[in-house]
Symmetry: D2
């Protein structure tokens, strides 16, 4: 029975912050090892990565196509590939690895078009492969605790949702048009690379997923107003939402809200209670029963639900952060892949990570928001 | 030259919490004295109030009409009347006192219909009378500080507004229909007394005004989704807003959000900075310049702008609260009335309180929100 | 049966911020009226106050001695006197009014010497008069809630106390010696007026009382290190404390801690739970049961203990502040005086305000802290 | 020139939470690799670790003595050893590795006796070896930012320090004597394993170091009151402190303070400003200039000082936590060791990690606190 896994990486060259988070996250539990990669289209950078990781250089590939094909043919092929490249590479890369029989761990948003997403889903199904879309915040222990509380009925029926993801880092781009497109992050505002949305695609989609993960509810329709401020893609979005259970709420995402660094905040209001979670302070959860005082739950305490507690690594009070959320995502993923390679049956709990259906929901959400805004905030169904 | 004022009260019997806030607020600076009243339609309660206040019982009236007429004829008539009765009484009472030459300090919302509001404005203008609509939160020192900062250009152009007023106290009414209409506060959900809206009218209107007061911006249009949960009037509202400068944002008001007692929070985002204010923690203001750390401004410190600092009563750190906000509203009002009765010229600064135009904006906002929601969140212009 | 009271004022001229707080606080419930005063040694200021308050000018006195004697002889003498003058005036003024049969509401600290304090106690006892020492923070609803929780056993036995009162307003005086003694507040650093301590006397004493009020525990001994930074009296104090039940803790008071305006914070740790209260955010209380999440209690909610809830004036979420704490102090006081003048029996609950024994404890605490510091933080018993 | 390092581990079997933190932290930057270990005295556990880490089993040793000797003789010996065993093992283990020419990364507290600590220092000096004592909180970016601010003179001269480290996890042991000594963490209360102190040794020592690291100040003397509550070692400590610059303050450490999970809070007060840091919210720093609003500094922003910013891994707002603090400790350590093995000169900046002198200070602090408490809080010099 195998106890270890190997994986490959597409993207995530050494100067990518998120690449390092993937590398550390995948290695956190000491059971998965990098064995192959195509880190950059720049051959020097690519080689440099291979050397840094002490890889067998014959498994450092010049293109994702080559990598998918070559790995697919190996006896000891990688157990999965991490796709941490810009958005426009997701679909083609994922498709290539699936076709070559390799499980896919893909950054979000999944791809540009719903049809592409559906195609990937079909392909993974046919091949019997696992697919994870990395809505990484679901890896937080207290996000899982929120979900367990909702599932247990603690807050009753969800009747209102107020969620936001606010950043300030693009505020200086306002009114500057193309002049700002040469910055490191500018690919996010380039429709060819990022797709039809910047702000909703990059961070609004995290709101959509985190709420869905916590509540099990899905969006029925949205009425959105996106602001572009003279840029090619949106920088700010205010969105009315309606869920499949009839509840309403707002999703606000922005990259021009001064004072906010990475302010993902989800507030769920139910008939019996409420839950609030802040990504910047991820180790606590604010939980209130109606008529009662707000309670500050801490990760690591005995009252945390079993499925959430299982993902906690260090005692209460010691902060876990983004790396640990990624590590949890990989923990669930590795557990599932190990069962797969060992021929064990996968239960629903084993598959408790954002999957391709979540990826499809995200693509639909982005399209609906942009379409709604283009028609002056008319309701658009997902 | 007069240094003191007398006033009358309509409504605000002894069991009214807001009545006590008016009594203390009006008396805070020791220059205005209650001289007449019509506190309740119940004669016993009315007399009891008159006795409690040691009034000349000939000035304790059985009806507002009688009071307006009788006071209007007196040499020593009251300088102004406070209208602290349910919403449906505002228009008729205000009209009666204006017609009898008495200044009006009226609770919000001003009245049911825009036409009524316009009529009151015309009447006050013709009579040369002052009219204050008590959006009391504008009395807070730090709300004034926010306005001074916006005026000074500290945050640049406002590009996004996220404001909310969340309470939980009606969550138990969900799905209970008429069974809940016998509670003390149930008049707020009775269309005959409260008008066309409960939640937007009672607390949403405070969002609208506080944002307008801080920014000087007015709403151009709204797209609103109100939730009724089986009650006669709305309990929850999520509203997309567009301001006259083109900025967008959301206003969320609710009386069914567990965990929130009186959560009025205004967040203004500009091209250069941001400002955040919480009514539950009114002595501080969170002020951020883009790229810089958030600063926590404290009422009472030397860096507070002069016009805001002028309303501060106690040193920094000592908390001022709702009573003091009311007292500040009365302080500005009394200053204006004293200038009026002493024949002095009133400057724009003397008139720095929510006036009848603010009252009209509020009525328009309530109508627009309800109309929008009735047409499935279509944009409605104010 | 009388329903109203009259009172006199010593000190608290119009330019005194705390004078206004007393005036508003005493008048908050509309049952007590100012009838006499000796507001200032400056005759002009004194007369100006009398006129402002519309007093019978024959009851505006040139000295406290004259006032005590004259009022003592009147049929309609004031029911009590408020002493809001600098510390050195407390003992002589209180003594004069007690000798003339008038109840005393005195600012803290009670007086300079323990012997003086004992003498006042004896005198009040002999005359059957009521005496309140205005440790005003005990008037806060949530301080009372803390006490009710401790009394109920909610936190078990108190085993550790960490309390502080930090301000920054004297930080600029460091190393400036006498040059700073001409500022408005400089009397607090003048031993002739303030007594043997500035920082411990002015604010440290509030720590001592608030903890005693909440817990019922008294200090057994203290080991203190006071810092003078070249000033006549102390500006900073770090104190180890031991309570009569054997528990230890620290009291830290300072007027040179940048970033703190009026930071009175009390944290009580017991065998079963903990309680934390911040004067700058007085409407909430942080309450934790061991092993459980911290709960944020809000004033005005149904779960608040009856004796605390009885002092709440406005609904949860609406902030009450310093004025309302004073008003509550006066509410309890007025209730007791009314029972006294109406010949009713006073119960322990009627006497639930800081009394002369609390004043004596405060004087002992100040002496012990200074003596300990003078002997290099040796333990000194109270 | 070498770019990679190997290390060995003493202690940190697979069931040790802190062991995992070391493993991840040492591996975070992908340049150091585990090559040898003595993980447990239990041969099964030890072998299991070796297998888990895919070690050459000939380098999995049965005792630290054997490991030190064998590794010392190898051409490819480990570059350093991590000592993550209980306190009583630190001195003997560190000594053995130093004697065999291997650099030491040792958990705190360094050892039991000052003489032992001095001996280790002498030995490391003679051998030209590097020694790090893992006061891990110094690895936090914002702790480094605090130090840079202090060094730059931003807060002027430090005049008062208020620091605490509060936990609740032993509150249930109160009064239970030996009955609690069989719990997992009970070794911390066993004098034979933990030394003369539990609470001061385990967490109080972190206060001492973090303050010293931030300020450059050292303790001159302490007056301490420790509480044992019937346990073999202390559970609670309140300590008056005096620094070498004459400033005073308090250090409070406790494992019986309900409501606190891992509450290390340092507050530094200077003549010009103040700084506050909370380990549970490590990505922010509260910085105030006198007379100005408090500022909330965020890790990752452009205004962070260069030496602190250099340790930041992910953008502002994304939380870093305990693992990342460890990773930073290893980053500095690895940089120094690489320079050592490559024969480069080590600058003061290269040695910016808690070293053996810091370890000695810690041992002195623990001894002084216990001795002071044993003599009823008499001052004891360090």
């Amino acid at each position: 029975m195998r106890k270890n896994l190997t994986y490959g990486m597409v993207g995530a060259a050494l100067d990518s912050f998120i690449g390092a988070v993937h590398r550390v996250g995948a290695g956190f539990d000491g059971i998965a090892f990098l064995a192959a990669g195509c880190f950059s289209r720049n051959p020097d950078k690519n080689r440099e990565c291979g050397e840094f990781y002490h890889l067998d250089m014959s498994r450092v590939y010049g293109s994702y196509e080559e990598m998918a094909e070559a790995e697919g043919k190996r006896e000891d092929k990688i157990d999965y590939v991490i796709i941490s490249a810009p958005n426009n590479a997701h679909y083609v890369t994922a498709k290539a690895f699936l076709e070559n029989g390799i499980n896919v761990f893909c950054e979000k948003p999944l791809c540009f078009e719903v049809a592409e997403a559906e195609e990937l889903k079909k392909l993974a199904g046919e091949k019997g492969l696992l697919f994870l879309v990395n809505y990484s915040y679901s890896g937080n222990v207290m996000v899982k605790e929120a979900r367990e509380l909702v599932r247990s009925g603690y807050i009753g029926d969800v009747i209102n949702v107020n969620a936001e993801y606010l950043q300030e880092y693009l505020v200086d781009d306002i009114g500057k048009g193309d002049q700002t497109m040469n910055k490191l992050s500018s690919w996010r505002k380039n429709p060819e690379i990022a797709g039809i949305s910047n702000c909703v695609g990059d961070i609004g989609s995290h709101i959509e997923h985190t709420v869905a993960y916590m509540t099990g509810l899905h969006l029925k329709r949205v009425a959105a107003k996106l602001d572009y401020f003279g840029q090619p893609l949106d920088l700010n979005a205010n969105i009315l939402v309606e869920f499949d259970n009839g509840a309403h709420g707002v999703f606000c995402s922005s990259q021009v809200c001064v004072g906010h660094m990475n302010g993902l905040v989800v507030r769920l209001f139910g008939t019996e209670g409420a839950i609030e979670w802040h990504e910047e302070e991820p180790n606590v959860l604010f939980v209130t029963k109606k008529g009662q005082p707000m309670q500050t739950y801490h990760r690591g305490m005995a009252y945390i639900a079993e499925k959430a507690a299982a993902m906690s690594r260090i005692p209460a009070g010691h902060p876990e952060g983004l790396y640990e959320a990624f590590a949890n995502m990989y923990k669930s993923w590795h557990n599932a892949i190990l069962k797969q390679v060992n021929g064990e049956e996968l239960t629903a709990d084993d598959l408790d990570f954002p999957n391709i259906d979540d990826g499809i929901s995200g693509v639909k959400f982005i399209h609906a928001a942009v379409e709604s805004s283009n028609s002056d905030a008319k309701w658009v169904e997902l």
